[in-house]
Point group: C2
């Protein structure tokens, strides 16, 4: 039986300020929590799950602090519309600092605000073998519950660091590629072996400062009348084009 | 001042059953509603908008039945978390029936359930110049408010018909392409000039029956560890690959 204080504490981790004070975040759902137990059991601070979850996931036994809760209790502590068996409180990931960009591809996110886009882009990065993402400070918090859910577990394996993009990128000796209206057609571009792909804000695109650092301005041509492509969709097309060749 | 009955009536159009009885659906937001007024004013059954909206959109004057409402009233009738100036009730679009597939590309959606994916795929279709989408009956309702919002207006211009996919596609003499685990690598495939691209359900992929009709089984190769790609993302990569060459 969860106490009121405990319920309130868990709910409070829905807020960024509280997460940063505690260095803890929430992850939910049968599949994601099972993956966390398998991959990073040492980072699980608390596990709340239904009897069914514990019966079907015997390795949950090894988590030191765990609680069997009812569906109703799960509903109370969940940030999801349809909670599914389990909720975990997780320690923040250790960030691998990045100072000099090496001989591989990086993603730089310049003000991605929508948590669904943010999470989908982290998942895409992993699919396409990008290990590091550099975020501007105005991006959605990667520990926002909606971001965590949308990554579908990729958040465990992709390293995300926060930087002032302009200052950071200005120091690098590496191609910087971005989507710009009127840029060169994407399919005609030969991606070099390494570089930074910059993805701009959903409404305003790449910021004026960062735009000045682009060494290659590219564009996804439009074949119909639609006004724009979603930021995660544009990312997927760029990453596919980078890797297909 | 909106009456309780009117508020209830508008809210009821959030439900599929009610929409189908009335052949009406909801569209919201400054940008989308402005586009509807510009493109299909004759289909606007009712317009509810704030004074600010009417001041900045003089062509709203031509809509026969319109109401100036307050922000509070908009909040009460809206399906959105953050309503934005306007809500319109729209007549269903006339469906252009499709019997024989012609010399162009079509999308066939086999059980796309998530309204966000459904709307994003309609928007993608328009971007890549696909004019017709064939949906299985278990797809998300295209008039679901979340689908309408996610299309960002493309729902006006893309023709969507509902069909039993297996029966319909079995009769066609046209390539049928789909994403299948273990399929041929996508970038090695030369897309013919016309065909049907089948996108499967988010959890289960293409249904067993429809799978038998595929003339080409393709796969997006994975470069990292991520388990899967979202259905809308996979669609974008297929459509890009189809059009890039």
């Amino acid at each position: 039986m969860l106490s009121k204080t405990e319920v309130k504490y868990i709910q409070s981790l829905g807020h960024k300020k509280r997460r940063e004070e505690e260095k803890l975040f929430l992850a939910e759902g049968n599949k994601l929590v099972a993956e966390l137990i398998r991959e990073i059991p040492g980072q699980l601070f608390r596990l709340y799950a239904t009897e069914e979850f514990f019966q079907t996931h015997p390795d949950a036994e090894k988590i030191p602090v765990k609680h069997i809760i009812t569906e109703e209790e799960l509903q109370r502590i969940s940030q999801q519309q349809t909670p599914n068996q389990a909720l975990a409180i997780i320690n923040y990931f250790p960030v691998k600092e990045i100072s000099k960009l090496e001989n591989e591809w990086y993603l730089a996110l310049d003000g991605i605000r929508d948590p669904g886009n943010m999470g989908t882009i982290i998942r895409l990065a992993e699919w396409f073998g990008i290990s590091n993402i550099i975020c501007s400070p105005d991006c959605a918090d990667i520990y926002n519950p909606k971001v965590v859910q949308a990554t579908m577990g990729s958040i465990i394996r992709v390293n995300v660091v926060e930087k002032d993009l302009y200052t950071f990128l200005a120091d690098q000796q590496i191609p910087v590629v971005g989507a710009v209206l009127g840029g060169k057609e994407l399919s005609s571009f030969k991606f070099p072996a390494a570089g930074v792909l910059v993805i701009g804000n959903e409404a305003n695109g790449i910021s004026t400062e960062v735009m000045r650092l682009l060494t290659h301005q590219l564009m996804i041509p439009r074949f119909g009348e639609a006004e724009s492509l979603n930021a995660a969709i544009a990312t997927s097309i760029f990453l596919w084009e980078m890797k297909r060749s």
